[in-house]
């Protein structure tokens, strides 16, 4: 009896229910978009209403179960304050699945500081996938509707995973972005996207918004936005992103190439990278071990290897010029330095800019 009373008394001390959140009292954002135009930042959040019958059959129903809210301000703190004040419920960012930056914002001077604020916002999920989109992030989020499936919170991550499997986009989260931007090693790369059909078509068929296709889904994911330490400095098209993924040793399973032949490439084993940073112009030796599966006839391996080498070299050169290292070479170079201070003083991105790269591709054909 004494124990029972003690246990009952102890129940009063349990704090789990003290400030319980009811689902209806929360605005759980699943996507957030940030635009920056004419010195004004606009934040848009996509929130499930929990009111509609998502996937009930009618076209409008799935869409209507997600609401968009937006607010503007001179910077992120002001915009988010206004957004919070205008929302009917408490904004909860713990379940954020994706965060979309407009290209203008990701190149702006506010970008780096905003990322700092994000990571120090206690309730914001660091696992949100980062996407940079051409044009408006708000429009991009507005286009984000469940076409196959019911719940966006499930659809968006699985869709991004699928795209990453093809190698056309890199997988990248908010905490990884923060780590790369504030770090002293390699720089990061996130998915490039666009609200499709809005931009002019040009010769590059592997860019978002320029894909020749039809479909209910308006948004397109293709290519990568490469970050420097302050924001986006370079974009890669889908094909270059596939090559980037192979260079990084990312395990992509559905990387089909149409040039120089119709083939599928995958990583046989992690690339072997040697960086000699003892000189002012570092020497980088890369050996790639790739499995090649022909999609039609077996191509000449020597020719494919030479063509790939040239493409890899071009890609690395392009990144060297922009002073970004999304390949992870910095981590190898850092091994030659005893302390962090010496490594930081070496200034890898500056050194990488003038480095001498040798690349070797070893292909193993599968019939």
């Amino acid at each position: 009896m004494k124990r029972l009373i003690l246990l009952c008394a102890a129940l009063c001390l349990l704090t789990g229910c003290a400030s319980a959140f009811r689902l209806e009292n929360q605005a759980h954002a699943i996507a957030m978009g940030i635009d920056y135009e004419n010195g004004k930042m606009t934040i848009t959040v996509q929130v499930p209403s929990f009111a509609g019958h998502a996937g009930g059959g009618k076209e409008s129903e799935g869409a209507s179960s997600y609401l968009l809210y937006s607010a503007s301000g001179k910077d992120f703190p002001e915009a988010i304050n206004i957004l919070k004040a205008s929302l009917p419920q408490n904004l909860n960012l713990t379940h954020l699945k994706s965060i979309v930056f407009s290209m203008d914002f990701s190149k702006s001077e506010l970008f780096s500081d905003t990322i700092d604020i994000f990571m120090n916002m206690f309730s914001l999920s660091g696992n949100a996938v980062v996407i940079v989109c051409h044009e408006s992030a708000s429009e991009f989020i507005n286009n984000q509707k469940p076409s196959i499936g019911i719940r966006l919170s499930q659809i968006v991550p699985s869709m991004l995973e699928y795209h990453a499997d093809t190698g056309f986009i890199p997988e990248y989260t908010l905490s990884m972005l923060y780590s790369d931007m504030k770090g002293v090693y390699s720089t990061g790369a996130c998915a490039l996207a666009a609200a499709g059909g809005e931009t002019e078509k040009d010769n590059d068929r592997y860019l978002p918004g320029k894909l020749e296709r039809e479909g209910k889904n308006k948004n397109e994911y293709m290519g990568a936005a490469l970050f420097g330490r302050e924001g986006v400095v370079l974009t890669l098209n889908g094909r270059e992103t596939q090559l980037l993924n192979l260079l990084k040793g990312t395990d992509i399973r559905q990387a089909n190439f149409t040039e120089p032949d119709d083939l599928r490439l995958s990583i046989r084993k992690k690339p072997k990278v040697k960086v000699d940073a003892s000189k002012s112009a570092p020497e980088i030796d890369i050996t790639l071990y790739l499995d090649l599966a022909p999609l039609t006839n077996m191509p000449n391996l020597q020719n494919v290897s030479e063509a790939l080498k040239a493409e890899f070299r071009d890609l690395i050169y392009k990144c060297m010029q922009a002073k970004v290292d999304p390949f992870g070479f910095a981590e190898y170079a850092a091994m030659e330095f005893p302390t962090m201070r010496e490594w930081v003083e070496y200034d890898w991105l500056e050194a990488f800019h003038r480095s001498d790269v040798r690349i070797n591709v070893i292909l193993l054909g599968e019939n």
């Binding site: 102890a10 001390l13 349990l14 704090t15 003290a18 400030s19 713990t94 379940h95 990571m119 120090n120 206690f122 309730s123 914001l124 999920s125 660091g126 696992n127 905490s175 990884m176 923060y178 780590s179 504030k182 770090g183 002293v184 090693y185 981590e331 190898y332 850092a334 091994m335 330095f337 005893p338 302390t339 962090m340 201070r341 010496e342 490594w343 930081v344």
Partner: protein, 370 residues
């Protein structure tokens, strides 16, 4: 009555060898890990060097304890009592008890801070502190063998959880994150390694309370032998080194940004901030590790003071538990205070323990009582 027997007769709070070993192994490893991985982020990626430096600095205390254990048939308390005399021995036990008391307040504070993370700062600190402190005091009241037994179970579960974490994280682990191997440089590493000395010295301090079975002729395990303390020390170093290595190679922290380590940790602990598969095993390990650590600190504080004054009764646990909780409540045992305390207390404790065999030899030579 010989001095050593007098002190021994006053012992009211002893703990069996196997339980003490499990208890101190678990608590010291957890405390070392939290100190190095979280509280001293300026070591950047060179946490292993910090640990090894700390282990090197503290080894004399462990070796001195081994010497005394060997000389006094496995009882450190007899050795100290012979070296210092009964009165001084009591004072030393009391001082060590106070060290543990303050440390228990630090660990309770750590536990409530972690709980605050987990609740996204929605729960008030005092409300978290009350049940936490009560649970710790209750466990300590149940006695050292009960708590030690629980620690033994935790050690076994911890290995499984660590294995699960390693399996989940294996693909994301990267040995290159260990480089540059000296991190911020030797000066910073030395400064941070000084903090670990106090926690390594907790092993000999805990051995004061190791129970001696009069009927036992042969030690049950190698840990019951005098060299057990060296093995225990080695086990703590190796386990902490392994945990730190896993932390460094797996977490996407920013090596040049010390505060990023705390950021990653709060993401893992906070409800909904991380969807990584390791969140559950990390949560279990984290909270259980700190809990065992807190119980160990409070138990040691009470037991040492009880032994020093030959008192018994539950009022010591209740009083010390309340003091530790109040210290934590009034924010007198925050991370910065804990670091300052370990920096100031570490080397004096090390010096005292290391000096004991020397004092003993001097007393012998100049006709001291023994």
């Amino acid at each position: 009555m010989p001095v050593r027997n007098k002190v021994a007769a006053d012992q009211k709070a002893r703990i069996s060898g196997s339980n003490l070993i499990a208890f101190s192994y678990c608590a010291v490893t957890a405390r070392l890990f939290f100190l190095i991985a979280v509280d001293t982020p300026s070591s950047l990626n060179a946490v292993l060097i910090q640990l090894l430096l700390g282990a090197l600095y503290s080894f004399p205390a462990v070796f001195s304890s081994y010497f005394l254990l060997k000389k006094y048939g496995g009882s450190l308390l007899y050795g100290v009592s012979d070296a210092l005399g009964s009165g001084m021995c009591r004072m030393l036990l009391f001082a060590f008890g106070l060290v543990f008391l303050y440390e228990s307040a630090c660990v309770i504070r750590m536990l409530t801070s972690s709980a605050e993370y987990a609740t996204l700062y929605d729960a008030h600190s005092p409300m978290l502190l009350i049940p936490t402190s009560l649970a710790i005091i209750y466990t300590v009241l149940k006695g050292g063998n009960g708590a030690g037994g629980a620690a033994l179970i935790f050690v076994r579960a911890a290995f499984v959880l660590i294995a699960v974490i390693c399996l989940i994280e294996f693909r994301d682990m990267d040995i290159k994150r260990v480089f540059p191997v000296m991190g911020p440089g030797l000066q910073t590493l030395h400064k941070n390694a000084v903090h670990t000395v106090l926690y390594f010295c907790m092993l000999p301090m805990a051995y004061f309370l190791k129970e001696q079975d009069a009927n036992k002729r042969e030690p049950k395990s190698v840990f019951d032998k005098p060299c057990g303390i060296i093995l225990l020390y080695a086990a703590c170093v190796l386990t902490t080194a392994f945990l730190l290595f896993v932390t460094v190679v797996s977490a996407p922290e920013i090596p040049n940004l010390p505060e990023s380590r705390g950021l990653q940790m709060n993401m893992l602990l906070a409800n909904g901030r991380s969807s990584r598969g390791i969140q559950l095993p990390i949560l279990i390990l984290w909270f259980s590790g700190i809990f065992v650590s807190a119980v160990f600190m409070l138990y040691m504080a009470c037991a040492l003071v009880k032994t020093a004054f030959g008192t018994d009764g539950k009022w010591v646990e209740l009083l010390f538990g309340a003091v530790a909780a109040l210290l934590a409540l009034f924010r007198l045992s925050l991370k910065e205070d804990a670091l300052a305390f370990s920096a100031y207390a570490g080397f004096p404790v090390l010096f005292v323990i290391t000096s004991l065999p020397v004092i003993l030899q001097i007393r012998k030579r100049f006709g001291g009582k023994h």
